[in-house]
Symmetry: C2
Subunit: 194 residues, 2 copies
């Protein structure tokens, strides 16, 4: 979804090749992704793995979603790293717990602790999209990454206490580029369930 | 340490301003870092937070530690993201458990599960620095980030089963730039303990 959204934001067409769980661990895919995961990107002779660098590559290769000024650009990229390395880790920790630790005796007690760590991130973050629409000036690849990270919390109810973040996510989801990416992604799931 | 090492690799001098735990949460520092953490970088008018983008900025601003060719450069940056977003999360999960969950009834059982998740990352990674000295050609900011990530495992004993990774870390630690950064960092701790 991150990669689709990034392509839509810069107005580029892309082709999608779906990969089965089995194919992800096969040599052809491992040559593209050392850890056997998705997504990967093929752009001419370049093959990339890791959604962070793929979104960064798209935003650097085509104009519109990173500032032109070098300092402002670094600031937007800082928000990408903040999304991935400061905000997302406890959120992924929660998702891992929901998937893998639900039947463990420690599940509920630990979940409460993980949720506290998530709130430590959301508290300061919620002050940011308040002044303007986005984290730092115009919508950037940093917002794309942050919104997608925050969307992982939708089912948890944790973000509901932060009206500025809820509004921020809603603004992003109202973007035509987001809608196009979402519809394309939803179509894949609909197709796969037939 | 990551930022010191990056500066040493590109041969730039830098000044260090230490920040107390109290100062980290004060307005002056929060203006530099929304989440009240370290490190931050000040370079002319630019202020950056997040070690990932700081190392990326240093490696892009001064030559030597990212390939010049655009595709090769993207590949090196992919390894930076892989270090931070694929390899480091379960390692940080382990560190968090060691710090915050040691006295929990679930500690030992959960640690074993986290260790399994770490091995799932180390298994494929260990194939990489084998053919050459580094992950992908010459030493890059991707190696810097990966080595520093793997160093977090030193006390765990988990990396000992991977001779190629142990040798890879040792090669990085033998670099003069690493030694200079390490000595400078150690001097701070020595000073602070007086």
């Amino acid at each position: 979804m991150r990669v689709r959204w990034a392509f839509e934001e810069v107005g580029r067409r892309y082709d999608v090749r779906l990969v089965t769980f089995e194919a992800m661990k096969a040599p052809a895919h491992l040559a593209r992704h050392p850890f056997g995961q998705i997504p990967t990107l093929e752009d001419g002779d370049l093959t990339l793995f890791e959604s962070g660098v793929i979104v960064l590559h798209i935003a650097e290769r085509w104009p519109g979603r990173l500032p032109v000024d070098a300092d402002a650009r670094a600031g937007a990229i800082a928000w990408m790293f903040a999304a991935l390395n400061t905000v997302e880790p406890p959120i992924l920790d929660r998702q891992t717990a929901m998937f893998l630790e639900r039947d463990k005796p420690w599940f509920e007690a630990r979940l409460a602790e993980v949720d506290d760590r998530i709130r430590v991130r959301l508290d300061p973050l919620s002050a940011y999209p308040d002044g303007g629409d986005w984290l730092d000036g115009a919508f950037s690849a940093g917002d794309l990454m942050m919104v997608h990270t925050l969307q992982r919390l939708t089912m948890s109810g944790l973000s509901e206490k932060y009206p500025t973040l809820i509004a921020y996510i809603a603004r992003a989801e109202a973007r035509p580029a987001y809608r196009r990416a979402f519809d394309a992604q939803a179509a894949v799931f609909a197709m796969a369930s037939h």
